[in-house]
C-alpha cells in the first residue's frame, strides 16, 4: 500500500474526527465523510487522495464510542490509520468495520511523506526520508476479523464467534 502521510498530533478525539455538531449527518455517511477530521484539519478531506494515510501520535480516537468515526475515515478512502497508540473503543470499532489501524512509532513520519505500508512484512518504509519503521503485530483476533471483512461478515460466515483458530 502506498500513499501520502497526513500528520496529526496526540489525543485526536472522535469529536475531531466526526464532530457532534454534525450529528444529523450520521444517517448520511457519504456526506459525513466529506467532513472527516474537519475539526483537527479543516482542509484534510479536500486535500487527501484515496489510499493516503492518517498518521498520528498517542491515543488516537479517544472519546465517544461513535462508530461513525472510523466509518467516515474508511469511506473517505484512507488506506490506514497509523498511530503511536489508539483509544480502546476506536481500535475495536476500526477492526469491526474493516479499517486498518496500525500501531507504531510515528516520529519518523512528517506531513506529506510518501509511505509504503507492508502488513505482511510488518514494516512501513518512508520513501521520502528512507526510514524503515517496524509496526506492532496485529493481534490474531483482529487479523481474523479483518480477513473475514469485519464483524458482521465474520458472524454471517461462521454463524457465531470463531476467534480462537
Amino acid at each position: 500500500m502506498r500513499g501520502k502521510a497526513f500528520k496529526f498530533g496526540d489525543n485526536i478525539s472522535t469529536d475531531h474526527i466526526a464532530p457532534g455538531r454534525l450529528f444529523h449527518l450520521r444517517s448520511n455517511l457519504e456526506e459525513f465523510a466529506k467532513h472527516v477530521l474537519e475539526d483537527a484539519d479543516e482542509t484534510f478531506a479536500t486535500r487527501m487522495q484515496k489510499g493516503d494515510f492518517v498518521v498520528a501520535g498517542n491515543n488516537f480516537g479517544l472519546g465517544s464510542s461513535r462508530e461513525h468515526a472510523p466509518q467516515i475515515i474508511k469511506i473517505a478512502g484512507v488506506g490506514a490509520v497509523i498511530a503511536k497508540s489508539f483509544a480502546r473503543i476506536f481500535y475495536r470499532n476500526a477492526i469491526n468495520i474493516g479499517l486498518l489501524a496500525i500501531e507504531c512509532d510515528t516520529d519518523a513520519i512528517d506531513a506529506g511523506d510518501e509511505l509504503d505500508v507492508d502488513i505482511e512484512k510488518g514494516v512501513i518504509t518512508n520513501i521520502t526520508n528512507g526510514a524503515v519503521i517496524q509496526i506492532e503485530p496485529i493481534p490474531p483476533v483482529m487479523r481474523k476479523m479483518l480477513s473475514d471483512g469485519g464483524l458482521v461478515e465474520h458472524i454471517k460466515k461462521h454463524g457465531d464467534f470463531k476467534l480462537n483458530d
Partner: protein, 413 residues
C-alpha cells in the same frame, strides 16, 4: 491464583475461570444503544439476518442525545429506533425519560451482570458491581443478536482511596485528580477497581460519577464491590431482590495499585481541551465564564442538584452567566420538583432543560459562541465537544459549578 473483580464477573459469564489477557466469549445480560449510535446498530443488526433479538426485555434503546430532536434528520433517526422497538420488542426510553446511563442504573442493570452499550460512558453501571463497558454500534448489534460478545479480559488498576474529603470536595474532584495523575490514556484497556474506606463510605451517586469517568482515563470499566449502599440503592429502586455481591480475592493480581489520600484532594477542574489537563481551582487565574452547565450522566443526579441548590438558594446567577440545569432523568426531575430545588434554580435565573444529554454532546441546547467559556459538570471538554471548536470547556464538580454561576468566574467559594 486470586482473581480481580473484572476477572470474576467475566469468569461467571464465560463458563470458565479466566485471567487478564485472555480472549473470551462472554454472555451478555443487558444491551443498550442511544439515538446517536442506535440507528447504525439497527442497520448492522438487519444485515445479520436474525429474525429476533436474543433478549428483547433487556435490550434498551435510549433517545437522549438529541432529545427532543432539533432537526428533521435526527427526528427520522428517532423513528428508526421507535419502529425497531415496536417490531422486535426492545425496550424504548423516549424523549423526557433521561440519559441512558442514569436510566440504566436506576432501572435496568444489576450487580454481577455484564452490560454492553454503544456509548463510551456505559462504564457508569460499574458502580453497581456490574461489568459495564462501551463498544461500537456493530458490536452491540451482534450482542443483541447472539446474547454474547468477545472480550479481552482486562488487567486491573486498584485505586485505593482512604480518609475523608474536606468540606465541599466531591468524588468528581477525586476523579479529575486521578485522571490528571495517570493521563487520558493512563488506563487504556485496563479495568479500574475502586476500594478503601473513602469508597466504602461514599453514596452511590458519587460512585456513579467515578465509574462514569473511568473511560476518560482510557479504561474499559470502573468497578466497585456491591455492598450495603448498593443494596439500599437497589431497594430504593424497587429491586432489592437483585442484590448480590462479588468480591475480588485477597491475592488477586493487580497491574498497578494507586493510593490516594482523600484529605489531599482539592477543588479540581479540567482545563481546555483534554480531561487530563487538570488544575486545582486555587491554581487558576481569574477565568471568566459565559455559561455554566449542570447535569449529565456524570453529575446530574438528585444529590448533585441538592449541592447546587444549597449554594444558589435565595441568590441569582451572575448576570453575565447563562446557567443551564438539566436533571439526568425523569425521576431525578420529579424529586427535584418535590424538594423545591427547581424553584430555587429558576429563581436564580437558571434555564431548566428536559432530562437528557443536554449541551454536553454539542447537538442542541447550549451550543457555545466563538471564544466563549463554559464550565460544565459533564465528563468531556474536547475541542468542539459543545458544538463549536472555538469554545473553551472547563469541567468541575457541581459545588464549583454553583459558585462559578454566582461569581461569573471559576470559583469554589
Amino acid at each position: 491464583m486470586g482473581q480481580t473483580l473484572a476477572e470474576k464477573i467475566i469468569s461467571n459469564h464465560a463458563g470458565k475461570n479466566v485471567k487478564a489477557g485472555e480472549l473470551v466469549i462472554a454472555k451478555v445480560d443487558v444491551c443498550a444503544v442511544q439515538d446517536g449510535t442506535g440507528p447504525l446498530t439497527v442497520q448492522e443488526f438487519k444485515k445479520l439476518g436474525k429474525s429476533k433479538l436474543n433478549n428483547p426485555e433487556r435490550t434498551i434503546l435510549f433517545i437522549d442525545h438529541a432529545s427532543p430532536s432539533p432537526r428533521k434528520e435526527l427526528s427520522n433517526t428517532h423513528t428508526v429506533l421507535r419502529e425497531f422497538s415496536k417490531e422486535y420488542g426492545a425496550v424504548l426510553s423516549d424523549v423526557g425519560a433521561g440519559v441512558c446511563h442514569q436510566r440504566l442504573v436506576e432501572t435496568f442493570v444489576n450487580p454481577g451482570e455484564i452490560l454492553v452499550g454503544a456509548d463510551s460512558h456505559t462504564c457508569t453501571s460499574g458502580a453497581l458491581g456490574a461489568f459495564a463497558t462501551g463498544m461500537g454500534s456493530t458490536d452491540i448489534a451482534v450482542a443483541m443478536a447472539l446474547g454474547k460478545t468477545w472480550l479481552k479480559v482486562p488487567s486491573t488498576f486498584k485505586i485505593e482511596v482512604t480518609g475523608k474529603f474536606k468540606p465541599g470536595i466531591c468524588s468528581k474532584d477525586l476523579m479529575l485528580h486521578l485522571i490528571g495523575m495517570i493521563g487520558a490514556d493512563g488506563a487504556t484497556y485496563r479495568a479500574l477497581e475502586f476500594c478503601g474506606d473513602t469508597i466504602d463510605n461514599m453514596e452511590m451517586s458519587e460512585r456513579f460519577t467515578l465509574a462514569n469517568m473511568a473511560v476518560e482515563a482510557g479504561a474499559k470499566a470502573g468497578l466497585f464491590v456491591a455492598d450495603d449502599k448498593t443494596k439500599a440503592y437497589l431497594k430504593s429502586r424497587g429491586r432489592e431482590d437483585k442484590f448480590s455481591s462479588i468480591k475480588p480475592d485477597e491475592d488477586a493480581i493487580y497491574e498497578r495499585i494507586i493510593k490516594i489520600n482523600a484529605e489531599d484532594i482539592k477543588h479540581t477542574v479540567s482545563c481546555p481541551h483534554t480531561v487530563d489537563n487538570t488544575k486545582t481551582v486555587d491554581e487558576l487565574e481569574k477565568v471568566k465564564v459565559d455559561q455554566v452547565f449542570i447535569g449529565t450522566c456524570t453529575n446530574g443526579r438528585i444529590e448533585d442538584l441538592r449541592i447546587v441548590a444549597d449554594i444558589l438558594k435565595g441568590k441569582k446567577a451572575n448576570p453575565d452567566v447563562r446557567l443551564l440545569i438539566c436533571p439526568a432523568s425523569k425521576d431525578v426531575y420529579l424529586k427535584a420538583l418535590d424538594e423545591g430545588l427547581i424553584n430555587i434554580f429558576v429563581d436564580a435565573n437558571a434555564a431548566i432543560l428536559p432530562p437528557g444529554c443536554g449541551p454536553c454532546v454539542g447537538v442542541h441546547a447550549g451550543t457555545l459562541a466563538d471564544g466563549e467559556v463554559c464550565l460544565a459538570t459533564q465528563n468531556r471538554n474536547f475541542q468542539g465537544r459543545m458544538g463549536n471548536t472555538k469554545g473553551f470547556i472547563y469541567l468541575s464538580s457541581p459545588y464549583v459549578a454553583a459558585y462559578t454561576a454566582l461569581r461569573g468566574y471559576i470559583s469554589a467559594e
